[in-house]
Amino acid sequence: MDPAPPPDSPHAGPAAPPAPELLARRRFLSRVSIALSAAAAAVVGVPVVGFLLAPLFRRSPQQWRAVGAADSFKLNETVSVTFEDASPLSWSGVTARTAAWLRHDADGFTAFSVNCTHLGCPVQWLADAQLFLCPCHGGVYNSDGAVAAGPPPRPLPRYPVRVRRGQVEILTSPIPLV
C-alpha cells in the first residue's frame, strides 16, 4: 500500500549500473555527510542537553537565615517558621519560601523539615497531642521527629540551627526528600 511516486515523477531511477570508482566516491561522500551532520548536531546538542541537566551540576549556596529572636520562642513549644531560600531568583515569588517546624526545649532549638519522609507532604503539628501528623497518608511523628506510626520510613529530617546575636538562624539546605 506504499504511496508509490506518481509515474510522471521527475525522479527517474538510476539508469546504468555505476562504475566502481563512482560507487567508492558515493560511499565516501555519504560518510563525510553523515560525519558532518553528526558534528553539527553535537555542536547544538551539547549545550541543549547540558542546559537541561544543569541542576545536577549546580549547587545552590547555603545561607544562615534568621527566623526570629531566640527569646520569642517559648520553652517546650513547636512553631512553624518561614525563611527564604539562599539567593532566590527574582521571579520565584512566594515559591522561594520554605517552612520549618522550630522546637525550643531544654536541649535548645531544633528545626524539623516540614516534608514527611513518606512522600514529602507538609506535616502539621498538633500542639495538644504533641505529634506531627501528615495530611496525605496519615504518617505520625513524635515531638522529637521520631516516627510514631504510619508509613514514614525515616524520622523527620532536621535543618542545621544556631543562635547568633540573639537570633535563631536556620541554614538553608536542599529539600530533604532523599
Binding site: W91, V94, T95, A149
Partner: protein, 459 residues
C-alpha cells in the same frame, strides 16, 4: 477553480495524495469500536488549540503564574470557558486513549504486521499521561506545588540516582523560580512535539498496513498468509475510508467536542487553590482524577513494599506495554483469548477500586474535625465530658470517627465499648499500633482515664 486545483496538485502532489489516503480501502463493518483513535487525536488537537490560546495569557513564572491564572479565570473574556475546555479536553484525551488501547488490545490489533502501530501507540499513551501530569502542575497553586514535591519524593526513591532525579524534577535543590518554567517547556513544546511526530508515524503505519479487520474466531494471524488474506479481503469487500467509515469518526468527534464544551460551561475548570507558597502548611495535596487511583495505591501499599511499587510499578507497566507486540501471532478474537478479556476486566476493576478509595481517602486524617457536640457526647459526667474534649484535642478525632464526625484512618469508635474492655482500650491508647501513635508519654494518667471513661460510654 478546477484548473487551479490541477495546478496545485501538479506542483505539490498533495491533493492526489490526500485523495489516495482518504479513500484507501478499509475493512467493511468496522463499526463504532474503531472511533477511539481518531477521537483521541481530535482531543489532542483541541488541547493544542485551547492550549495555545491559554499560553497567550499565561505567565510561566513561578512568582506570577498563579496571578495570571486568576486573571484568565476571572477577568479574561471567555477565559473561564477556555480553561474548562482545556481541562475537560485533557480528561477526554486520557479516557479516549485508554479506550483506544483497550480496543486494540481486545481485538488483537497489535499482532503482525501492526506491532509498531502498537509500540508507537504505547509511547503516545505514556506521553499523554506525561501531558496530563505536567498540565496539572501548570495550575500553579498550592496543590500543584505539593504535587511537584510528591513527584520528586517518588523519584527520590529510585536507587542510586534518586538524589539526581529529585534535582532534575525540581530544577534545583529546592522548589523555586526554575521549577515551573521547565514543566511549562515540557508541557507546551517538548512533549507535544513528540506527540505530533509519533502521531505522524502512527498514521503512516495505519496507511501502510491498513486498518485491522474485525477479528474472526478461528482465523489466527499467520505471518506467511496474513498480508495476502488482508489484500484479498480489501479487494473483495474493502470500502473507501472516506466517507464509508469516516462518518462515524466525525460523529464521535462531534460528540466529544460537545461533551467537553458542555462540561466546561456547566462544571467549569477546577478552582484555583491557595497560592503556591510552600510555607502555607495547611495543605491537602490531591492529584487530579486521572491520578487519584495511583495516590490510593501509594497509600494502601504495605510500607515495606512501597519503594518497590513506586520504582518498579511504572517500569513494569511500561515494559508490559512495550513487550506486548512480541506475542504477535495467533488468534485475535477475544473469544479465543478469554484471558485478554480477564486482564482488561481486572485492570479496570483494580483501577476503579483504587480510584474510589482515592476519592474517599480514608487514610488521610481529617484535620477539619471539630470537637464533639454535647448531643453526640450525650453524657454530662465530668470525666466523660472531659474525655470527649480530650478525644478532639489529643488528635484522636482526626483518625477516629464518633457519630459521623472525625477521620477514617482508624476504626470507627462509635460503639467501641461493645467490643473492648476499658483495660484493652487503655492498653491500645498507651501502646498504639502500626498506624496509631502510642500515647504513653502524651497523656497523663487522669487524661487517659477520662478518655477511657468517655469511650466506655460509646455503645
Amino acid at each position: 477553480m478546477r484548473r487551479l486545483m490541477a495546478w496545485l496538485d501538479d506542483r505539490t502532489g498533495l491533493i492526489s495524495w490526500s485523495k489516495w489516503a482518504l479513500e484507501h480501502p478499509v475493512p467493511p463493518r468496522t463499526g463504532w469500536w474503531y472511533v477511539f483513535g481518531s477521537a483521541t487525536f481530535l482531543a489532542f488537537l483541541l488541547q493544542v488549540v485551547t492550549g495555545i490560546a491559554l499560553a497567550t495569557a499565561y505567565v510561566p513564572s513561578a512568582g506570577q503564574a498563579y496571578e495570571s491564572l486568576r486573571f484568565i479565570s476571572e477577568r479574561a473574556l471567555m477565559g473561564h470557558f477556555l480553561r474548562g475546555l482545556h481541562y475537560f479536553g485533557a480528561s477526554a484525551m486520557v479516557i479516549l486513549i485508554g479506550a483506544h488501547v483497550t480496543r486494540t488490545y481486545l481485538m488483537g490489533a497489535y499482532k503482525f504486521p501492526r506491532e509498531l502501530n502498537w509500540l508507537s501507540g504505547a509511547l503516545l499513551l505514556l506521553l499523554t499521561l506525561a501531558l496530563a501530569f505536567t498540565g496539572q502542575l501548570l495550575r500553579w497553586d498550592q496543590t500543584a506545588v505539593w504535587s511537584v514535591i510528591v513527584a520528586a519524593a517518588q523519584a527520590g526513591r529510585v536507587p542510586v540516582i534518586g538524589p539526581e532525579l529529585v534535582k532534575l524534577v525540581l530544577a534545583g535543590d529546592t522548589l523555586g523560580g526554575q521549577t515551573l518554567s521547565r514543566f511549562f517547556a515540557f508541557h507546551v513544546f517538548f512533549i507535544p512535539a513528540l506527540v505530533f511526530l509519533l502521531v505522524a508515524l502512527h498514521l503512516a503505519l495505519v496507511l501502510r498496513h491498513g486498518i485491522s479487520e474485525r477479528p474472526t474466531p478461528g482465523e489466527p494471524v499467520d505471518k506467511a498468509t496474513y498480508r495476502r488474506r488482508y489484500a484479498e479481503l480489501m479487494a473483495r469487500e474493502g470500502v473507501p475510508f472516506w466517507p464509508d467509515a469516516a462518518w462515524r469518526d466525525v460523529v464521535a468527534g462531534a460528540v466529544v467536542v460537545a461533551v467537553v464544551a458542555l462540561l466546561a460551561l456547566i462544571v467549569g475548570p477546577p478552582a484555583l487553590g491557595n497560592p503556591p507558597d510552600p510555607s502555607i502548611l495547611h495543605a491537602y495535596p490531591r492529584p487530579d482524577w486521572y491520578f487519584l487511583w495511583y495516590f490510593a495505591v501509594l497509600a494502601l501499599t504495605p510500607n515495606h513494599l512501597e519503594t518497590i511499587v513506586i520504582v518498579f510499578g511504572p517500569l513494569i507497566f511500561g515494559a508490559i506495554l512495550l513487550f506486548m507486540p512480541l506475542f504477535n501471532t495467533g488468534e485475535r478474537s477475544v473469544k479465543r483469548r478469554p484471558w485478554a478479556g480477564l486482564v482488561v476486566f481486572f485492570i479496570v476493576f483494580v483501577i476503579a477500586a483504587f480510584w474510589m478509595a482515592g476519592n474517599k481517602a480514608p487514610w488521610s486524617p481529617d484535620f477539619e474535625a471539630q470537637p464533639l457536640a454535647a448531643s453526640v457526647v450525650g453524657d454530662t459526667t465530668a470525666a466523660v465530658v472531659r474525655g470527649a474534649r480530650l478525644f478532639h484535642d489529643k488528635g484522636c478525632e482526626y483518625c477516629h470517627q464518633i457519630g459521623s464526625q472525625g477521620g477514617k484512618r482508624g476504626p470507627d469508635l462509635s460503639d467501641v465499648a461493645t467490643r473492648m474492655t476499658p483495660d484493652a482500650m487503655a492498653l491500645k491508647i498507651t501502646n498504639g499500633g502500626p498506624d496509631m501513635p502510642p500515647f504513653v508519654s502524651n497523656l497523663s494518667p487522669d487524661e487517659l482515664q477520662a478518655i477511657v471513661a468517655f469511650l466506655t460510654t460509646r455503645k
